[in-house]
């Protein structure tokens, strides 16, 4: 029987489509460029007939609608440009996790071979916070290879760092996901229709492809969206710890009121990637709250849209 159509489901689809469009065309739609020539380093303002000069970061409305960052780049342009980096990175990481975890989990679930190893690996990775495995090597690489000043860094080093970042974040996600999948596969493998297929001579691969996978497909989709959100959370945590995918620019801030204090380094994303924008804005919350409020609202809306879509999708398919 066909499922009853729900207006909210279509609304959720439209929202997701809108996000994808922004990600795809944000680079073209952005009102200002993000090159050195596009930086506005000084802004003239007339207040009560007096000319005043302002330096970035500018507050919203002058000269940009959403204000600017410390380099003088338009916040709206950064956010429009950065969405694709956030989504593509999270999607690739999620896809990589699934590419390895799905066959591994299904094979272990059907055959039972390696289930102990999988359980142990799952325990090791789940027992200790992911940042303890990720932060020290990634931060060592990031600063060791000079990616905190990416314009001067060797592109090969950036590629190496990105590969290691992808490799490590993927590796840490494989085992918990494979374990979850193995449990679901084991559940379906005990069903009578799968036993019947086995008795009729169906190979393990045949049972996985023809019987278990069609039953587990929807769950895989739910898991995919949840995992995508989890990867976004992890990317944000790493950004808070100054690990910025794609490298960063560094601003050295010296507190002129406290001579002798340790200079404070600010790491800014070069692409406008959203989680890095939040991490950067959070450091300037007191003085320039517009940076964190704008990027935070954009990110929260993205997550809520994904959750809303997942909820509506579950409602429609269950």
């Amino acid at each position: 029987m066909p499922k009853r159509s729900s207006k909210l489901f279509y609304v959720a689809c439209m929202v997701i489509l809108f996000i994808v469009c922004i990600a795809a065309f944000g680079g073209i739609l952005k009102p200002h460029g993000l090159t050195n020539e596009d930086k506005v380093l000084l802004f003239k303002k007339v207040i009560d007939g007096n000319m005043k000069f302002e330096t970035p970061p500018y507050a919203p409305h002058s000269p940009y609608l959403l204000g600017s960052d410390h380099r003088g780049y338009d916040m709206l342009s950064l956010l429009l440009n950065g969405l694709k980096y956030t989504l593509v990175n999270a999607a690739l990481l999620t896809a990589l996790r699934f590419i390895f975890a799905t066959p591994l989990g299904m094979w272990v679930g059907v055959t039972g071979n390696g289930s102990r190893v999988l359980r142990v690996m799952q325990w090791v990775i789940s027992a200790v916070p992911a940042f303890l495995f990720l932060y020290p090597p990634l931060v060592g690489m990031f600063f060791g290879l000079g990616l905190n000043d990416v314009s001067k860094a060797n592109p090969r080093d950036l590629m190496l760092f990105t590969t290691v970042y992808y490799g490590m974040v993927t590796f840490l996600g494989i085992f918990p996901l494979a374990y979850q999948m193995a449990e679901r596969t084991r559940y379906y493998n005990r069903k009578i229709f799968v036993s019947a297929s086995r008795l009729m001579g169906g190979s393990r691969l045949h049972r996985i492809v023809k019987h278990i996978h069609p039953n587990i497909r929807l769950e895989l989709l739910y898991m995919g969206i949840s995992e995508f959100i989890a990867v976004l959370f992890l990317m944000g945590q790493l950004a808070i710890f100054n690990i910025i995918i794609g490298g960063s620019d560094t601003l050295v801030m010296v507190d002129k009121l406290a001579p002798g204090e340790v200079p404070y380094m600010i790491y800014l994303t070069t692409t406008g990637e959203w989680t890095s924008m939040i991490a950067y804005g959070a450091k300037y919350m007191k003085i320039y709250p517009h940076i964190v409020i704008e990027s935070g609202i954009a990110f929260a809306l993205l997550i809520l849209s994904l959750q809303f879509f997942l909820h509506q999708f579950k409602k429609r398919t269950q």
Binding site: V120, W123, V124, S126, A127, V128, P129, A130, F131, L132, F133, Y135, P136, P137, V139, G140, M141, F143, G144, L145, G146, N154, D157, I229, L232, F233, G236, Q237, I240, F241, N242, G260, E261, V262, Y264, M265, I278, A279, A282, M285, K286, P289, V292, I293, G296, F299, A300, I303, L304, L306, Q307, H311
Partner: protein
Amino acid sequence: MKHMMMWALLGLCTMAAVFMLGAVNKAFIHEAPDRLQVSISAETTIDEVITQLPGSKMLDANVRVLSIPYGKVDEYRKLAAALPGVIQPRAMPLAKTEISFRYYLFSVKKLLIDYSHGDLGLIRTGDYQIQVKSILMKSALRTFTYFIPGLIVGVLIAVMLGLLASISRLFGKWLDSAHAICSGVPDYLLIIFIQLVSIYITRMTGRNVILVAQYGNHIPFMIPFLTIAFIPGVLIYGTLRLAIEREMTQDYLTTARAKGLSHRGVIVRHVIRNIMEDLIMVLPKATTLALASMAVAEAMCDILGLGGYIVSPRMQNISATPIICIVLAFLAIVINILYALLGKLFVVQIREGR
């Protein structure tokens, strides 16, 4: 016993992995680990300097570059600086950053030797160097002041709300909607939200309601506490709601109801006991999330706790990261063991009859 030994070994292997990964930054070298450049005055000769630096050899007489034992640049620099007539001994910078596995292994070995002598590493902030040994206990206690109460409060509130939501349908509906929204809030957004609210309240009232960052001995409590309580709490609530829903469909509850037990009575007398396994199963994951949130909160509030020391941009970790990571991993593993013991005590064990 064999089972326990295996898990203990696994815990040790995990900590070893955390240690090895914690020292990876040592693999990136900017200076040659076996070269030293010295400038000398007329007071001495380069040959005299070489004789007083054991194991050193002249490599380039024109620029006075010496070959010294591998990885001893700092030690030999200090040694050379103390010699009469030697001016500014310095390490030889490399043309570009190199990845050296030899130096990584050398550093790992050196760290282990230092640990065996009670030296747990150094942290540099500005011109000051801090011994990790001197701050480890203090920062651990600082972290525990909000981590342990936050985790306990988070678990208790989640369990209570989960049970309340099952007892009252209207309340449950409200809570489930709130849970759907809350589960989409990452820890860093929650912290930013609390910090912003606090800043605006302070601006409006002129009173500091919630401390948003550490200054001096004033350490924020509410932000890390709320974050640590909230993130695992959301996970536990969701898990318990599903577990209770599953139990409510079981036949034994129909029997209990048929025998006259009220809805509340069914939950209190039967369901709680049977969802204990789900609670114990979700606690390790909740604790891992709480530990990660704790580090994020410390990074964002600039608190020099266990997580703060390794992620703070004010602190340059010379050799502190591995030991602090080990302490955090040890804490996580100990809590996991505690949960395993709790599971043995409280989870109803079912065995097939012979």
